[in-house]
Structure formats: structure tokens, C-alpha cells
Symmetry: D3
Subunit: 315 residues, 6 copies
């Protein structure tokens, strides 16, 4: 049984562990024989691996979304870690491992997150906002609780979407306490709905990619449409519908970032800020979690390619 996560292995160390195959690509080596490049993960992260001289059966077995038991050694290949596999087999009933142990996932359970969000909706006082929010969350409930918030960059793990929303709700609550002009109902509804279109934009909770609809329309447009449909189904006609649509539409902040209209309502502007702040802190924490005091992190593409420093006085 694996005792430490894959991200904690250094070059030269041997590994013997269960892992999950995220993707698998066949190639032909310079000796003319086929091989597989596997992208493997466990709860802590992922690593590229090479499986040389494969049979037809190997190719079929070690396909994406399979769980395997393997042993091998971590090597350095062009500056990145790579796993050289010695032995590998598919897991079977006798292996005491289950999928949820091998996939990065939110640090809070789905139940706790669900309860928290339910409570935020419960406390809303504007009935139109409350009804639309509850309706849409219910409609996409199961996917909302399991999907990631993105395919990369931030919250790109199982249940990342719900985790992002819960963090933002707490942040919104704290900010609303300091600036009393903010309309809490609107702000909380905006937080809950802003990325909900991702359950249609993305393919699923694991090995996530973009759907055709995701590519052609995007989660913002998808959710604006969904809000319109929800209002029709619920027979709601107040201005709240258009305003909620505006909050979702504008939450990327600028046209060049995907919002055809910039925030033009107080809560829309704040929603954009909260979304950014939570995403950035999530990326910062991840970039710095394996950095020692007095050192710089790797560059983070989604943070303008910056590298971050951990001060020596922050033990």
C-alpha cells in the first residue's frame, strides 16, 4: 500500500502503489516497438509514465479511467519527473482500493458543502431570487456536487466546483458584513449560479474535457439561457431574472475575458472580485504548498506566469 503521495517522490526513488490512469497515448519507439505514455494520478497529484514494448492486450488494458497497481522508479526526463514502470497490472476485487482514494478531490465532503449552500439559499429573503436559485441548483444537483470548477488552473479536482462556490459564499458573507449597501440575496445567488453552466460545458467529474456545447457556447451563455428557462418554468417575471442573468454574464469582468457586458450592477462587480480572489488564493496555495521557506515556486501560467517566494520568516 502506498504510504506517501506521488508528488512527494524524488528522482531515483522506487515506488509501489495504486494509481489511476487519466490518459494513455500509444507511440512507436526508435526500435520500432510500440509503447504507451500514461498520465497517472493519485490523490496528491500526477506523473507521466512510460510502458515499453507493449502487447495488444496491454494497450487495451491500460486505457483511460482504469485503476492499476504498479511498481517502478522515478527518473528525470528533460527536467520533469517521469515514472519508469517495472511492473503493472489492473486492480481486481482483492485490492482494497477504491476510486475516491486515487483522485484529487475537495477537502470538504459533498454533504457538508450541500448543507452549507442549502442554508445560504434558505436565508434569502427575495422570493424570486430564492426560487430561481433553488430550482437551478436542484436541476443540476448531482453534477454540481461532483464536477471540477475547471479543467486546469484552479479547483480542477473532483467537487472543485462546489468547493469554489462554498469558499466564495463565505467570502461574500464576510464582505457583505463590511459593506452594508450590498444586496446579500443577489450576491449569494450570483455566487451559486455563476459557474453552474460548467456542468454542461465540461464532460464530467474526471478526465474532464470540453463538450461541443461547451466549446461553441461556453458556460456563461449556457447558464444565462438556463436562468431564462427557469423563470419561464416557474412563471417568474420580475426584474430579478434579467439582473441574475447580468451577474452571470458579466462575472468574467471584461469582454476580452469572455463577458460580453462588464459588471454594471454593484453586486456584479463584487461577484467578479470574489471569484477572482478565491481562484487566485487557491492557485497560490497550490503553488506554494511544496515550496520551502527562502525559495521560489515554479512559474504559474494562470497567474501571469509569475513565480512566488516563500519568506524565510514564514516557517
Amino acid at each position: 500500500m502506498m504510504e506517501k503521495g506521488i508528488v512527494h517522490y524524488g528522482v531515483g526513488e522506487s515506488i509501489d502503489a495504486y494509481m489511476f490512469i487519466k490518459s494513455s497515448v500509444k507511440g512507436i519507439a526508435s526500435n520500432g516497438k510500440p509503447f504507451l505514455t500514461l498520465y497517472l494520478c493519485d490523490k496528491t497529484g500526477e506523473i507521466e509514465a512510460k510502458l515499453w514494448d507493449i502487447s495488444d492486450e496491454d494497450e487495451k488494458n491500460y486505457s483511460p479511467e482504469s485503476t492499476v497497481k504498479l511498481s517502478g522508479e522515478v527518473q528525470n526526463y528533460r527536467g520533469r519527473s517521469q515514472l519508469k514502470i517495472r511492473n503493472i497490472r489492473l486492480t481486481n476485487e482483492n485490492d482494497s482500493v477504491n476510486l475516491s482514494e486515487l483522485i484529487p478531490t475537495a477537502p470538504i465532503s459533498q454533504d457538508i458543502m450541500a448543507d452549507k449552500i442549502t442554508q445560504y439559499i434558505f436565508e434569502m429573503r427575495n422570493p424570486n431570487i430564492q426560487r430561481v436559485t433553488r430550482h437551478l441548483l436542484k436541476k443540476h444537483y448531482q453534477d454540481f456536487l461532483t464536477y471540477p470548477a475547471a479543467t486546469k488552473n484552479h479547483h480542477e479536482f473532483m467537487s472543485g466546483l462546489a468547493y469554489h462556490v462554498v469558499s466564495m459564499l463565505d467570502l461574500a458573507k464576510g464582505i457583505a458584513a463590511l459593506y452594508p449597501n450590498l444586496d446579500k440575496d443577489l450576491l449569494f445567488a450570483g455566487v451559486i449560479l455563476h459557474d453552474l453552466g460548467k456542468v454542461i460545458e465540461l464532460s464530467g467529474p474526471i478526465s474532464t474535457s470540453y463538450t461541443i456545447e461547451g466549446n461553441l457556447l461556453g458556460h456563461i451563455t449556457i447558464m444565462v439561457n438556463e436562468i431564462g428557462k427557469a423563470a419561464d418554468e416557474l412563471g417568474i417575471q420580475g426584474e430579478e431574472i434579467m439582473v441574475l442573468q447580468h451577474l452571470v454574464l458579466s462575472h468574467h469582468g471584461k469582454a476580452e475575458w469572455g463577458s460580453p457586458k462588464p459588471p454594471m450592477i454593484r453586486e456584479a462587480e463584487v461577484l467578479h472580485y470574489i471569484d477572482n480572489l478565491d481562484a487566485k488564493i487557491n492557485m497560490l496555495d497550490r503553488a506554494l504548498e511544496r515550496v520551502k521557506p527562502g525559495e521560489f515556486s515554479e512559474r504559474v501560467f494562470a497567474l501571469e506566469n509569475r513565480s512566488f517566494y516563500k519568506p524565510m520568516f514564514q516557517k
Copy 2:
């Protein structure tokens, strides 16, 4: 009766004509007396005018969307023409003038345009595309035939929206004849629907401004929603719906121009080009229509502030 249009009057000329008040702003002159700044138009264009020393009744009478009979003189004020009004009165039943003679409007009649578009829809072979297009056109039929295509820049006259669509359809037909891979049904439907959301984004056929929904959502988002609703109402489920939504969504070409997704389908790219080409030629024709051979036009803001030259050999 007016014999030549307002745009053809030079500085120093006297005028005696019927005109339409587009907007009216009250001010206080340096002598402490109130005056009105009127924006007047006839079929050929518009002019700013000053009415000094007004009474309360004047203020009430000469409000926006009134029709007046006036005489005065064209003067130069800071480089622009300005009309100094000598006499003015509201029109009454005895004046043989009607609104349509005083407002810039498309050069083709609404009936002819309606027939032309109907014919394009009639020839569509894909039933899903045809039904959605017909349904939406019918739903907004009256407004579609009277609204301008914009509040300024291009086709900003009565029925400008329909005129823009008809020009684009003919252009699309010509291009499709040269590039046989293009899907005519999709392209024609895209042309008809691409700006239809303007009937909700804009306030009306004359003295046009943006509605609240226009400001907060914009005509692109509005029409994408409308296509979704139309499909629901008609019980259509094919991929055509998503593709039509993509065409409308992407027709501005780039995120910074208001399309959160760039064209990702052949016909979407061509639609974007046709829209631009027709709009630019419309602006060019207007900029050059009063320019003499061997001279430059005024600068046109929406054409990157360029000034255009009419060659001397083009009589």
C-alpha cells in the same frame, strides 16, 4: 414646402421647411434667459438649432418627436453648421406633411424587403433551421421591419435593420455561389437572426436609445436566449439549435468586440465577414455621398477615424 434636404444647405443660406425634433435640451443663456437646443432632422440628415428666449409653452411644445414648420438661417458655430431659428410652430392638420417624409428611412419599402426575406426562408431545405428562423421572424415581425440596425454608425435609420439583412442576404447568396462548401440554409438563417435581438436591445424605430435589457444583456445574448426558447416551443432538438446560437453568439468575431466565442464554424466566420462588409460599405457610401471628386470626406469614427478620398477620375 422644402425643396432640398437639410444636409444640402450651406452656411449663410436661409431655410423654410418642415422638420422633426429628435431631441430637445433646455439651457440658461448668459443673459439669464432660458433657451432650447433642438436636434432637428429631415429625410436627408440632421442639424442642431438654437431657440432663444423661450416661454414655458415653447418648452412644452418643442419636445422630442414633435413635427415643426420653421424658418431660419444656417450659421457656423465652432466648425459645425447650426441653425438659427427665426420662426417656428408645431404642424397641424392643414400641413400636408407626414412623419415618414421627415425621417431617414431605408431606400426599399418594407413590403419588398419582407417579400425578399420570406423567399429566402421559403427556399431553406433544413426543416429545423427553417422553422426556427420563421418562428422568430414572425414573433418580432413588426419591429424587425421598422427598427434601425443601430443608434449610430451604420443603418441607423428607420427600417435599417431589415435593409441591412436584405443586403447581407444578397451578399451571402453571391458568396455561396462561389464557395460551394458553404451551407446556404445555415448562412441565410444566421444573416436573418444575427441582429434580430436589436428589437429588444433598442427602444424603437425613432429617437432610438438602449433599453435597460439592452444595456445589461445586449442583443447577442438576448437572441441566443430567444433561439433556445423558440426550439423549446417548437419541440426541436437537433444540433441546428446550438449551431444557430453559435452563429449569433460569434458574429462580432472577437471577445473584445462582444462575442464571447469567436466563430468556430465555417458559416459563422463568413457571417461575420458579410456583416462587416455590408456595414462598412454603408458607412463609406454615406461618408462619400457629399464629397466632390478630388476631396476628402470628414473623418468617420466607426471606420477607425479615417477620412476617405474620392478620386478625380471618378466623376
Copy 3:
């Protein structure tokens, strides 16, 4: 005594009030006689005024930073309100008015703000950070409590700098409670010091303009230097000094916004966000405070020239 603030007067209303002269410019009218254009303010805002046919004494009396008693009428001049002065005189001992009643100022008293900041410093656990922060605040104490945070855009009123810092401290506290990896000492010190250089960049608490040093070096560079000097004077040599300098240096976020280094430390990134969020909410609140539900605000230059809508359901 004035009963309502200057911003609440509409065109056509008469006014009889004490006001403060922010600036004064002499001109020559078209009749060849000199006049003064005065920029007047009270606690609620400001207005431009014209004083015609002035004497030499008038010109001397009604110079900037004088307090006057005047009566007149609000007029519309090219779309903006302008005050036409009927009577005006300098205030004297018999007028029961004092400066602080005529100048926009922070909604919390200087004493309360001072106590609050002292408490935040008191709770710091890192002695180097605490000592430098306390030293610099003490050095510029009086100016810090009275200066605005800017000459325009946000917190541009008396004590605006301290008010901005206090709001940001509360915001920082709320955020630090949600993201436990944040180093509170560093974040709070960053908040307190980030704009402290403005007491050298700007000319004073009222009629504020830029000093020569403010123009040539800017508040960021000024404060980075000050931190270095403070460390020398206090004999502190830890890495905290360089890190605090980095927080101040990077708090505008990007080179093109005036920070030659982008945030490269977790707390620096968060500081940049908190600064922005508080400034934006301050601007939003001001833009919306006189807007009725269902209407749009004026455009706000510092918020990318956007106009903001107040929903009808937000009474």
C-alpha cells in the same frame, strides 16, 4: 445655516449657504470685464460658480481655501450644474461655521480610526514587522490621519487615507479568517504602509495636488525608501524589511499600473486585491448614492467609464 448639501440642489433652486473655495481662476468676459470662476464645496460635494464684474478686492478675497457666505441660483451650463452668485462675502467671527463642516471628510472620527489601527499593530507577533510599522506610522502620524487617499477617484476627502486603511484592515481580517495560510502580521503591515507615501506625494489634506517629489518619484518609491530608512534607524536586518518593501512596491499589481515588480508573495497578491476591492466599492457606493432604483448612474472614469444600474427591486 445650510440645511441640505450642495449636491441636493436642482437646477432653478435658490441657495443661501456657507461654502469653502477650493480653487479660483480669473477670466475676462466677452464684455471685457474680469470675472472669477470659483470651485466651491461643502461636506456633500462641490459646484462651479461664476462671479461676474469683479473688483481687485474681490479677486484678493475670494482666493482658494477661503470660507464664504453666499446666495445665488443653480443653473444648467452645458449639461452641468453651475451656481450663479448673487451675493457673496467672507465669513467672520460672528458666523457660527467652522471649516470641518464645509469639507468632505471620512465618516468615522480620526480618534476611532487611530485606535483601531493601533490595536491591529498591537496584535502583531512578528517584532520586526511590528516595529517598522509602528515607527513609520508614528513618524507620519498627523498627516496620515488627515490626508485624503487620492486627489480624485476614490477616498479623495479629508482623512480618506486613514479611512481606506481601516476599511482594508477589516477586510484583510475577514479574508485571513477564511484562508489560514495567510500571514496576518505581514498582510496588516502591508495594508497600513501601502499608501503611506501619499503623505509625501500629495500636498496636504485639502485642495490637494501633487508635490514635485510626488510627481518625480511617486508614493510607492517614496515609501519603499522610507521602509529602508526605518530599518536602518531601528537597526533591524531581517528579511521582513525586503518583504515589506516588496509588498508596497507591488501593490498596484502590474508594471503598467505603476508597480515595477508584480506581487511575488502570497500576501502581496492579496494586498493588491484588498486595495482594489475597497477602492472599487467606495467608488461604486458614491456613483450609486444619488441614483434612483431603475436608473443608471453617470459614467465613472476610474471604473473603465462604466455606468451602473440600480435594480428596481433594491428600494
Copy 4:
């Protein structure tokens, strides 16, 4: 004899065909022996190939612009197809293959294109425009009919330049029919001359690269100079010369795209649009020609790196 084009071979398939060597680079393998990387093409496209353990004679034989007969197998190398050569030899007189069968070329014959362009020139009514256009076309006739329109991105095949011009002429004709203000003579001459400088900018019809003059001056400047010289030689002095120079100069539309002056004449603006539209449709068709309905194309760099979708209902 080859039965299907190189682009239709999948990974793992064997090939036995005539091919043309576009370029050839020598390298040293990890075993210390020299090898050649060959870029091979046939009429349908190109592929990279490796020839291992080469002799000095091999190196000499398999140089650029040779024709070879080879057999081998298509493999996957880092996500791209690569040909592993088993046997290779130069072609000789007994091989019934000629160059034109191995090189991508325009889908219309040079004769037909030449006739079509001649007809367009014949119909011009402005003698100055007609004479300059005919003179320059005649001067560069042979190269015009064989050169590509570019080294990559669009129309980068033999006779691509003439093919691009013919497509644009038909497009120009269609557009001119719809917008009668357009000066057909000027527009058609602009189309014919706009890229003619490429016969000097580029090195030749195959294995095309940039000449020194092409790099230092560019085809736009080259052709503007050529028009001036032609006018001198023909003794023409009308404004048409300057206007034609402007059309060529401005046809890239913006300074940052290589036109030091933007279009400032109606036909110049339309020329820019027609050029773009034909180039984009050419790229789109090529990107989509091997894409199945329901799938996305590869990303196209010259189309802002977009990937294009082929709808499922477009069989």
C-alpha cells in the same frame, strides 16, 4: 504507382509511392551515425521522414527538389505522423511520373486562369488603369501563373497566386453588382496587382522562401515601385497611378499588418475585405476537408489559432 495521397495514410499503414523532396537536413543519431530528415510531398500534402545510417552518396542524392520512389511505414512521433523509410531511390527515365503530379497545385489550369484574367482586363474602360495593369501582368506573366500566393497559411501551392486572384475577381464582380457605387475598373485592377510583388518577394514556385529583397522591402513596397515605373515607361500621368499605388499599399488594412497607410478610398477598403475573405475561406476549407461531421479541426495558426467544428447535420 501511388493510389492515394500521403495525407490519407494513417499510423501503421505501409506506403509505396513516388514523392518529391521539399527539404533535407543532416543529423547525427545517438549511435554516432549520420541520418537525413526529409520533408516529402505529393499532390495532397507532406510528411516528415527519417533515413537512418546514410552514406555520403545518400546525402548527395536525396537533396531538395529531387524526385524519389520509396517504400516505408507511417509511424506516430510525438503526436505527428512520420514516415519510416525502408527503401528509397531516385527516379529515372523509366518511371512514368512527372513533377507536376507530385506537387500541390491550383485546381484550375493556368490556361483557364490566364484567359479569365485577360477577359477582366479587356473589359476595363479606364485606359490608364487598363494599360498599367496589362503592362505589369505581361512583365511578370510567367511567374504570376506559377508562383504560390504565400509560403504558408493560404494558397501556398503552385499557381496559388493566380488562383487567389481569379477567386477574388469573381468575388469582386459579385460584390460590385450589389453595390453600384464601386468603380469596377479600379477594384479589378487592385485585385490583379495587389499581390503581384510576390513574384519578386518570393524565390520561386516550389520550395518557396523569401528573397533578400522580399525580406528588406516586401511585396507591397515592391509593387508600389513597379506601378510607378510602369507609369513612367508608358508615359501615363493621371491620378490613377497614385490611386492604384494606394490600393496596393493599403491592402493589408492596418499599419500593424504591413500597410503604412490604411485604405482611404472606397475600392481600397473593399479590396482589403475581398483579399481577407478569400484567404480565410481557403484556410477554412483546408482545415475542414479531412474533419468528420461532429468533430473539430486542428488549430489553425493564421486564423487566430482557432479550431473549427463541422456540424453533424452537414453530411
Copy 5:
């Protein structure tokens, strides 16, 4: 006779001087009477003036490029100086004033500049470069010595073009002495020719505007063509022609600044720098010439709208 130049008059001072009318615009005052706005200059600068209640004769007399004798008073109008004219008359034979005394001109005489440039050409050792340069200078000799280098921003005075070239030649000589790899012949020829196209782009030495050819082609393209023609006429065929054309073509440095090719030859890059440096120092000197130590200049649009400070220790 005027004793001090117009730029040295302050608000409130009376003036009695000869001046030159650069341009003249008729307007109608609020009392309905016509007036002229004159832009007047003397050797030191220019001022706007108003002439009220004009007769038809006045309008005819005080047209552009007339010389007048006038008296009046300098006033402040919206922050700028404006001359209120009391008396004005056209100059006649009895007035001991001539044009050259009233127009800003280069500080060195045309003869001295001509000699200096001749000497630089004389010292060239590459015969091709020398012959082309001499030929083109001779062809445009008179205009070259009298034209300004621009209509505004820098060297926009009579003989400004030659003065700019002479300054740049000296600068080029100094730089070439420090970096011996530079080809002096090429660099000096580039300096002499780089802006010579302005004699065709601009309308003349005074009241300068753009010609049609200047607008449609620009001085860069014009001079590149001229170099080509000169080579033809002189029967020169060396690579020097293309290289000189490249220097002229690329001297604005970047596509977005009007050079379709960036500098790709050592001397082209240096030429671009010398051109910029001389232009910027010229603008800086002009901006600072009336600024007192310890003060800031007005903002200079062509220097990115910066304002410049004159240190107090620079007496």
C-alpha cells in the same frame, strides 16, 4: 516695431506689433454679427486672436498668409492666451518688415546648412551611395532647404527639415566615431534621404498641410519610389539601392509607426534612433524654454503627454 516676441507677452499686457496670419476662420457671434478667428504668428510662436464685427472687406483682407500690423491686449480664454485686437491693418511698402522676420525658422542659415550637407556628401567613398544621394538632394534642393520637417510636434518651422538633417548628421558622425562597425556612407545617406519625401508629402514651407499624395502614400513610400527612379536614371544597379530603400522604409522603427519593415540592417536601426533622439531633444528644448527652474512644463502630446520638470539647481 516689436521688441519682444509674442510668446513673451503675459495676460493683461498690451501689444503693438507686426504679425503673420497663418489661418483665418469666419464665425457668427451670439449677437448675430460675423467675426474672424485669426491664428497669428511671429518668429517666436503663435497666438489665437478674435476680430469682432467684421466687414466684407475685413474678411477678404485678413486671409491666410497676409502680413498685418496690429495692436491689442492679451487675455485669458479658458486657460489659454488669446489676443483681443483693437486695431489692425495690412502692411504696405512703408512698413520696414519682411516675411522672414515674422515666421519661425531654423536657427542656422540655409547657406550654412547647404554647405554642411554638401561636405558630408563629398566625403562619401561608396560611389553608388554618393551619386544617388547627391542626385536626389539636387532634384529637390530648393524645397529641401525651406520645408519644415513636420506640420506639428517637432521642427515644424521654416527650414526645419534641413535643420533636422544637419543635427542628425552631426549626431551620426559622433556615434560613428564611437562604434567603428558602422558604415558612415550608408548612415549619412540614410540621414539625408530619410525625410526628403516630405517635400512631396507636405504642401510648402508655410501654412503647411498634407498633399493628397502625402495622405494616400506618405513620405516614406514616396522617397522609396524616388530612390528607385534615381537609380534607373543614373543607371546604378548595386545592392546599395535596395539597402538605401530599406533604410528609408524602416526609419519609423515599427509597423504601427508607419514602417512596413522594421530595421533589419545595422545602420537602419541606428538611423531610427538618431531620428528619434534629435526629434525628442528638439521637443524637450521647446517645452522647457519658457519654464522656470522648479516648475513643470505644459504636457507635450508627442512625448506621450508628459510634463517636464526643470530642476531648481539648473539656473
Copy 6:
């Protein structure tokens, strides 16, 4: 003993020479054995090398900043030269080689450069400027004479910083002779101090990287602070200090290039130009030094990725 520098070896040539190890990275080959990738240099340039099948002792010996004697062969690897090492050993006392012969260094000796700069300081007439400049140069004297001016792009060799300063001083002197308004003391001091912060920003004269302080604050901020401290230590209070700080602060010219304030003083603008010009000519000379007449250089990233042509007439 090596007879020609490393940059002059072509593919296929054997080499037998002393070289210096700039950096060293361990890898695992496909046969599972460890190898070293060494970056080697001599006075003329650098090359990548592979040392296969290494022992633990090899790994220890061939670490960065060691000097070695080696023989091997130059090969082509993916288009770049690579050295295949046959024999390698550390140098010992018997080898008649010393470090300075193996490291790229300035073409003028440190002594001559030091004398030259001393003379420039000696001639300054403003005592405040002279004292601060002398003080700071003395404080960092040894590092100033040995550090490079950058880690890459320009003057990235030993003593490159001093060499860059000396070249700029001569350039400044030449320019100041032509434009007499320039304050020589200020300009020369600006040249000497502008990059002096690099002795703290960078790690040392060889194998140079960025220090933590260099990353977090940058050489501009570092030197602005140093000037402030120097003034304190010397008891100088004149405006010269702030002005010198401004020159250093603004010498990158624009915010996006790292200067939070643009040049706002005449000498600051000129300093920025001189810095750029010397850096660009240095890069140009290096790019062209191995290019034959009639050929283009490799692309130079720091010169906007341009490639430069050496004309055929420049032998």
C-alpha cells in the same frame, strides 16, 4: 592549447581545448545510466555538451565553475551545435591556463575603465552630484568593475556593467557637445548610477543569476534606495538627490518596461535613449559578427526577434 574559440568550430570538427563549466545538469539516459549535460564556455562563446555513463566522481568533479581540459567532436543536435566529449579531466597546476582566459569579458581592461570613469566624476562641477556619485561608486567599486550588465541579451560578460557605462559616458559626452542645454553633471551621474543596482540584483560576475532581492525589488528600486541612503550618510539635502533618484527610476522609459515614472526631466529622457542605443548596438554587433556579407543573422529575441542582414558591399 586551444587555437581558435569555440564559436568558430563547425559540425564535424574535432576539438581539444580548455573550457569552463557554466552549469551542469544530471539526467538518466534511455539505457538507464546517468549522464551530465554541461554548458561549457571559452572567451568566444558557449556550447552544450553531453558526458555519457558518468561515475559518482564525474558528477562531483564536473560541477559548475570548474575548469576542464577536454577533447571531442562537434555534432548537430536538433539544429544546434552540441559537443560530444571523448576525454575530459579537471585542470591542475601544470596546465598553463587561467580563468580569465576562459570567460567572455569586456574588451577593455578594468583599470582603463576605472580611470576613465574617475575622470568623468572628477570633472563634475555640481558638488552634490559629484559626492553622491563618487560615494556610491566607491561603495560598490569591486563588484561594479567585475559584474556583467545583465544575465543575457547584452553586455552579459564579465565587466560588462563597467564597459556599458564607459561606452554610455562617451556617447553622453558626444551628445552633450551637440545639445548645449543638457546638464553634463547630471547626465554623467545618471549614466554611472543607472545600473549600479545590478551589483545587488545579480549574484556575481560569472554564472550569474538573480538574487532574491533582485527578484523582489529589482535594480532600479535598489539603487533609488541606495541614493537616498548615500545622501543621508553624506548629509546632502539639495534637490539633486531627488533628481538623481528620478533619473535612475525612469531610465527604462515606460511603466511596462519597469520604470514606475517615465522620464520627466530632460537628462532623464536622454539617459534612457543613450542606454538603449548602446545596448542595441552591442546586440547588433554580436548578432552580425559571424554573419557573412549577403546573409542574415539568427533572430535576436531582445531586438523584437528580428534577423539582421549584412549588405554585400560591406566587406
